[in-house]
Subunit: 367 residues, 2 copies
């Protein structure tokens, strides 16, 4: 790693800090005579969740998403502690000062100096027309974070699909968002190429991959179907409105400045275009993209919509209670919280909505 220019010493140090923080949390819990099971990703499963009265994630926001992904019980609290404040924003975790004084957080919980916060989550129904009536043949592989190798063989036979009549509720709940789009490296071949300069000894690998725009049809709140082409569709919760959705929809002050300049010229306005106004407008606009995690509504937005003779998008974003998507994609997926993906190819229909029964129970400590 060091040879490649990576900061190995920094990596090691962050691991040391994280380990120390985890020990602190465990010690704080055990000193209150609370029974603690400390598990890593691989060992974290629904049986462990069933055993627990509450779940504490020790890591960053990603770890919190993973922790939440196995909790389906509305009354099982999940608390996140940010053990990696250098690298993670921790917006799903407790304020960062509790990382080093977790006992203080526990005291507040004992004294009732907190309130329950229910973060609404999204559920997904999937159905498809014309699926062949045969079981899907799968290979079960252990989930391995360290498995860098691309030597992956997927022997799933394409035309053996289950005969599913009616929409199927998928066993996941999105805490941040569901994203629908084409995979980047969907089909590729590896070719060796000889450089013109004749470097026969070095043959870099070329992957001929297709980056395709995603083509689908969308219906919002049972409205009319609209054909769209874009770089993907994002449907988020209030929690997720701070995450990827925010990055898709926020504007840069560079862009706001340019827009206001053009408006000033066209509207012949007497507007003092200073940095202060530009920054204020930018901040206000970006803040309007955020809303409470507890609101049972979704925000959908289309990433890089392609508008031309063939495709239009009358509504590129907005709030909704229900979003239906019909895939016309070649090799797309639905990605939940950036961690779980489902095939979503031509013929598949997804129905996306919030059901308050799926809410995740977290805590908001009094300050």
């Amino acid at each position: 790693l060091a040879l490649k220019g990576s900061n190995y010493a920094g990596l090691l140090e962050r691991h040391r800090i994280h380990t120390k923080n985890v020990e602190h949390i465990v010690d704080s819990l055990r000193s209150e005579r609370i029974e603690v099971r400390l598990v890593k990703r691989r060992e974290y499963n629904e049986e462990t969740v069933r055993w627990a009265d509450a779940v504490v994630s020790a890591g960053g926001d990603g770890t919190m998403l993973l922790a939440a992904s196995k909790v389906f019980d509305k009354f099982k609290p999940v608390i996140g502690v940010n053990t990696d404040p250098e690298r993670s924003e921790g917006h799903l975790c407790l304020p960062v000062r509790y990382t080093h004084s977790f006992h203080e957080a526990l005291q507040k919980l004992y004294r009732g100096e907190f309130r329950w916060q229910w973060r609404q989550r999204i559920r997904l129904y999937l159905e498809g027309t014309g699926i062949n009536p045969a079981p899907v043949d799968l290979h079960e592989q252990q989930l391995s974070q360290e498995q860098h190798s691309r030597a992956h063989i997927n022997e799933r036979i394409q035309d053996q699909r289950s005969d599913i009549s009616g929409p199927h509720l998928l066993p996941v709940r999105a805490l941040n968002e569901v994203f629908i789009g084409e995979s980047l490296s969907s089909r590729y071949a590896v070719c060796s190429v000889l450089f013109r300069e004749n470097f026969k000894s070095c043959k870099p690998s070329f992957k001929f991959s297709l980056h395709r725009a995603s083509y689908y049809e969308i219906s919002v709140d049972d409205g009319p179907w609209e054909k769209q082409k874009s770089s993907g569709l994002n449907v988020c919760t209030g929690t997720g409105s701070k995450a990827w959705s925010y990055n898709i929809n926020k504007v840069a002050h560079q862009a706001v400045e340019e827009i206001l300049k053009i408006a000033k010229k066209h509207g012949n306005l007497n507007m003092p275009l200073n940095m202060e106004l530009v920054q204020k407008v930018t901040n206000d606009y970006n803040e309007s993209l955020l809303y409470s995690p507890e609101e049972p509504k979704m925000f959908f937005s289309i990433r890089e919509p392609i508008v031309n003779r063939v495709f239009s998008s009358s509504r590129q974003r907005g709030f909704s209670s229900k979003v239906c998507v019909r895939s016309r994609c070649w090799d797309a997926c639905m990605v939940v919280d950036g961690g779980t993906s489902f095939e979503f190819n031509d013929g598949a229909i997804a129905s996306i909505m919030i059901n308050t029964e799926d809410a995740l129970c977290t805590v908001l400590l009094e300050e």
Copy 2:
């Protein structure tokens, strides 16, 4: 296809139209006693290009990109004919009326009623620190568009890399853009899941994939290096300023309307906020993103920049002569014109620039 809800009849019809259009082009050329070799994608190679005096692509913009990708001779004209006007914008092709009267285009060429248009292209240099001195072991596979199967085995041995000292000029020239970002489905495992409702007969495949933000460092026009985290970096030509770059950077009138509303409130302005003004400002702004294909300058833009305590991006977009990128990515690639990709992982450094020697020769017919 029809069972899945796809429009098979429509697909067949478009193929019929395309085939007819191709015949028309070939007939028009042969009636002028021009020798024509008609090749499909698989047969199109540098030998064929060498044989030809000029290349005519018959398809959409994608076919034009493919045609251009094998032409490195500045004086070998490449002409695009849009045989699929229903599906392709054809902004790289001749105006759509020549599709049905190609002989008219040929007459203009004979009479000199045209001018040469040189579309500037981007070249890429790649270098890396600490690459092991051993040849890369590759499997050569035929490029196959019909190959849907995911049964892909990549036996490339990770640690056998060439010892390349100094930057390596890659044998590609980007006509539209170079895009740098993390692959979506970089590492995944397939797990079978039993539904709670106990549908044992149907086990959908879950791909646990990681969608990561891209982490890299960027230096513009030999300026200071800046760490950035985003959904990727796009560097385009004037030709490409109408393509993906446009979709990344354009604003929706919904957003402009909201921005002007906020500006009006904050600036206490007496501005009539009507649809006409909003549309005008939106169009002007979006048009400012486009520039001539013949200008030897690049436009870089960062897609969904992540700005927080750790990462900032002082310049999210702009024109430049040279862009250098140092990868800190896990499993990223550089994608050229959406069709060719190169590994671009932690330790690799890319230098991106325009050299007028790499321009693509096309024609602009007089109207």
